[in-house]
């Protein structure tokens, strides 16, 4: 019963995600498209939570949707919602088809073993690995992000 509920929710969230992805690419107004990207991020967090990755789900909601996508929405609102644009359909269709076939082949023919659902994650273990084993990575990431933000401010003020 619990498994069928989990699968039904995952199926519903996946279908909604696909519909939102399609609308993001097709809807004319970029402000609406940015808002739909926030909804897509929320659905991605929901699917991550269904798979058992609660920490990742919280991180997606707080950092990605709460900061990055909101930044996109505010910036796009300032620049204007856009209007009619020229589409280059054959090139896009070709790239979409190549991505679908290539990625599908790699994912479904992958020899990687997948675990059970939901996964068991010890937050203490993740924090320990992040702060001890991967400490240089975290320091580099912090420096890179600080440099990125300074660079962005410099570019936007120019």
């Amino acid at each position: 019963m619990a498994d069928s509920l989990l699968i039904s929710l995952a199926l519903l969230a996946s279908l909604l995600s696909l519909a939102l992805a399609f609308l993001i690419v097709y809807v004319r107004d970029l402000i609406y498209a940015s808002g739909m990207l926030a909804l897509l991020g929320g659905l991605t967090a929901g699917i991550a939570a269904l798979l058992g990755y609660y920490l990742v789900a919280a991180f997606i909601i707080i950092i990605y949707v709460g900061a990055a996508v909101m930044f996109i929405i505010i910036s796009v609102s300032m620049l204007g919602g856009g209007g009619a644009e020229e589409r280059v359909n054959p090139r896009g269709l070709l790239l979409g088809l190549v991505t679908l076939l290539g990625l599908g082949f790699v994912v479904f023919r992958s020899p990687l073993e997948v675990g059970s659902v939901p996964v068991a994650i010890e937050v203490g273990e993740v924090a320990g690995e992040l702060l001890i084993r991967y400490a240089p990575v975290v320091i580099l990431l912090m420096v890179a992000l600080a440099a990125t933000i300074i660079e962005a401010i410099a570019v936007a003020r120019r």
Binding site: I24, S34, F59, A68, L95, L100, V114, G115, V117, A152
Partner: protein, 100 residues
């Protein structure tokens, strides 16, 4: 693979192809950024499914990935604002003309 993994991985592959279509079919730079973000969401889901036998590694990689992408978004939007001030346009044609 369990059924839930197949559902999530399948939708992620489809989402990535929709994003790729959006990147290649539009000349508007904001639309291209949004399409890249659609692909990024697909990559997150694929990462979580493919590394579900090592959940700690999947969590760490996803957190680092989200941090890097957040920085990327900040820089790209700053560049778009700067370009819009210079050209009053958000399409890629002025960039192509400047490169010629």
């Amino acid at each position: 693979m369990e059924l839930i993994h197949v559902i999530v991985a399948g939708s992620a592959v489809l989402m990535a192809s929709i994003g790729a279509y959006g990147v290649a079919s539009s000349r508007n730079l904001v639309r291209q950024l949004l399409s890249v973000e659609v692909m990024f969401n697909a990559v997150i889901l694929l990462l979580l499914v493919m590394l579900s036998s090592q959940p700690s590694l999947a969590t760490l990689l996803t957190i680092v990935l989200i941090s890097v992408v957040t920085g990327e978004i900040v820089v790209v939007v700053a560049l778009l604002i700067s370009m819009y001030r210079a050209t009053r346009s958000l399409t890629s044609e002025p960039l192509q003309e400047a490169m010629v």
